[in-house]
């Protein structure tokens, strides 16, 4: 089968599976439309939401509010996660000192931090960003550490032969060699951060997609809940797709086996 034919076949299969999901939704919702709105009712609710914003914030405004929190947290998680991961992977002493702390903190779900964070920082913008940061930081730091620790010995030897100093070694050998692992960590962090932001907004917020779900629950507006859920899914998938493009751009040198 030719490459183009395989691509068309895969796209058809993807479209079919999405249509299948909508069909199941249609069937299930038709039996109890009051509890579970039909696809048509959900689309109508989306149109109404565009016409009549909640909390005077447009639907795009809610999406952007959630995105802003995720982006801020991701920037911090990438800077700290990659930095700390790089040193942990490079220096065994640093790894021995920091790894036990990470091992103990990593299994704690971000949501478990919510009460403590609210007590310490209240319910403003910072605690939400901090929660997303907690969700995003661990995959980045762990992947960076593993990526650096597993850099092929041959590349390190070449660096040594050319007498690269530590900074040159990290910048020109270790960092690019570990780049695929680092980007894989960031990709996990994006989806994890996106999940956490919705949870954080569901607890206390006046904007964002999580807030819309909460509003839907409080006013028994199930269609609004569905609209927000679908938007969460779509934006999450878009984020992942955009990052895959960035990944291809940055790691175009990887063999496509």
């Amino acid at each position: 089968m030719k490459k183009n034919q395989i691509k068309t076949r895969d796209m058809l299969l993807s479209a079919l599976s999405i249509l299948g999901l909508i069909a199941v939704w249609f069937l299930v919702s038709n039996s109890k439309p009051d509890f579970f709105p039909t696809p048509m009712a959900t689309i109508e609710r989306l149109i109404r939401l565009i016409e009549k914003p909640v909390m005077k914030i447009s639907i795009l405004g809610h999406v952007l509010a959630s995105l802003k929190r995720v982006v801020l947290a991701l920037i911090a998680a990438i800077i700290l996660g990659v930095g700390i991961g790089l040193f942990m992977g490079w220096n065994k002493k640093v790894r021995a000192a920091i790894n036990p702390i990470l091992m103990a903190l990593r299994p704690i779900p971000p949501i478990a931090w919510i009460p403590l964070i609210i007590l310490l920082f209240g319910i403003g913008e910072f605690p939400k960003v901090l929660l997303v940061f907690i969700g995003a930081f661990f995959p980045i730091v762990m992947n960076t550490m593993s990526g650096v620790a597993l850099v092929e010995d041959m590349y390190l030897k070449v660096g040594k032969i050319y007498k690269a100093n530590t900074a040159q070694m990290l910048r020109h050998v270790v960092f690019p060699a570990a780049m695929p692992a680092i980007l894989a960590g960031i990709k996990i962090a994006i989806s994890s951060g996106w999940m956490v932001v919705v949870a954080a907004e569901m607890l206390s917020s006046k904007s964002g997609l999580g807030f819309l779900i909460n509003r839907g629950r409080d006013s028994y507006d199930v269609a609004l809940i569905m609209v927000a859920m679908i938007l969460i899914g779509v934006v999450g998938a878009l984020l992942s797709a955009v990052f895959t493009l960035i990944e291809r751009k940055l790691c175009g040198w990887m063999s496509k086996e």
Binding site: Y155, Y162, K163, W253
Partner: protein, 248 residues
Amino acid sequence: MENQEIKVQVNHLTKRFGDLLVLNDISFNIKKGEFVCIVGPTGCGKTTFLNLLTRLIDPTEGEILIDGEPADPKKHSISFVFQEPSAFPWLTAQQNIEYGLRIKKKSSEEIAAQSEKIIGLLGLEKYRNAYPHEMSVSMEQRVVIGRAFALNPDLLLMDEPYGQMDIKMRYYLEDEVIRLWQATGSTVLFITHNLEEATYLAERVLILSNKPANIKANINVDLPRPRKVSDPEFIKIRKEITDMIKWW
């Protein structure tokens, strides 16, 4: 050749790991711009010998002098080509060739001029933007060799760089390494198990003995280039080296 200045002096080089004597009192000189091949049996301490020359490990006794001064990684530049291709997969052919020059913080004009020269000598103009995963093993190894020559090192060590190539490719690459050596005037120490390759490339062949290794013989290969493997003089020298090895 007799009038050429001495570039590398290896004096009474000895290496012991505990009670195990690996290298025993090795002494030889390499003249500036000379192409020397080293042949020796497997397990004779070749890797230890190379690690000593690159100063990755220290000798038990003896010294290595470059330009009359103790070899110092910070001061002298020693390049190395491994048996396995070692191009960085995230850099293009040209970026790989420029790697050592960038690490040494050469000016951008110098980097451009030197990389153009090497790319021209390797005939890689069309492939300068190719990544290693887009290259064959032999092309990747050529890029690595270009990277090593680009730096104009004080000493270029090559550890069986063509060990993985088939015979046709070897002939082609051997001619190419001679072209690079002649164009750059580098001092080369080339290690190989292939006696024909040693006779084809070297101005001088050093034969290492079994462990504990020392220099068993030092054979001048005073043949014009390009050499012909069917030339009676070539065959005579190759046979001389082969007879030395049969003695093991």
